[in-house]
């Protein structure tokens, strides 16, 4: 039996990427790694968007991917700057050391 690549494969992969990213967000306590996990989730969404775009024969999804990349790049820049500023104050990049509001 010959298999072929269907849109479902892409969607499952995208779901897996988002799931893995989310899992990383939950289990990692290093804010750097949490940011990376966010990037991974965004990538999963990009895959899904592009798949839909390709299936629908419409470029709108592709353009959305383009925008998401822009936003993600800006987000990483700002997030890392914040992290550096925080590191200067706290001397740590662990999320456990950053809670000030409770306890």
């Amino acid at each position: 039996m010959m298999l072929s690549v269907t849109p479902q494969h892409f969607l499952i992969l995208s779901f897996l990427l988002v799931g893995i990213g989310f899992l990383g967000l939950l289990i990692r306590r290093n804010v750097l790694l949490m940011l990376m996990s966010l990037e991974l989730m965004l990538n999963g969404i990009n895959v899904a968007l592009l798949t839909f775009s390709r299936v629908g024969g419409n470029l709108d999804g592709g353009i959305f991917v383009f925008f998401i990349m822009t936003v993600a790049a800006a987000e990483v820049a700002v997030g890392l700057a914040l992290l550096v500023a925080l590191y200067k104050k706290r001397n740590s990049v662990l999320s456990d050391d950053m809670g000030l509001l409770k306890n």
């Binding site: 039996m1 010959m2 298999l3 072929s4 690549v5 269907t6 892409f10 992969l13 990427l17 893995i20 990383g24 289990i27 990692r28 306590r29 290093n30 750097l32 790694l33 940011l35 990376m36 996990s37 990037e39 991974l40 990538n43 990009n46 895959v47 592009l50 798949t51 775009s53 390709r54 299936v55 629908g56 024969g57 419409n58 470029l59 709108d60 592709g62 353009i63 991917v65 383009f66 925008f67 990349m69 822009t70 936003v71 993600a72 790049a73 800006a74 987000e75 990483v76 820049a77 700002v78 890392l80 700057a81 992290l83 550096v84 500023a85 590191y87 200067k88 104050k89 990049v93 662990l94």
Partner: protein
Amino acid sequence: MVFSRHPVSAAMFMIVSLVGVAALFVLLESFFLAILQVLVYAGAVMVLFLFIIMLLDVGPEAGKRKLSHFKTGIFGILATFLLVGILLILGNSYDSLALDQSIWPELSESKDGGASQGLPFSTKVSSFGYGLMTKYMLPIQVSGFMLLAAMVGVIILSKKTPSREDVK
């Protein structure tokens, strides 16, 4: 990636998965986005990550002890076998990695980049440009402005703020 405690190795795995996503983009015949993915993510973003990791000198998270070299070697060999096996199976099952025309719609390549028919999917970069400059004019302005704001914000954040010791 998410199971590695050391940030540097996590970043390396991340680059691998990003490049993999770029490859998927190629498979979806969206070459421009694939190039962007490699340039922006694997190039810029991950370099930034690594740079920060090195700047802050972040070590591995505290937790369970590391696996010994021996066990790592065994797992590596097992993983290699697994990978080869998967590739073999896939290579036998799928007739090609190209998209099956019966499931995936055919691409219409009109000369004006699809200006006359809305925004059809296209491999051309010019179609992207056309879409961005017509239908998505406002969003692109907004995102440009957002980039400017992010830049200004980062500059302000990274300015040397007087710490408590300096104030004293």
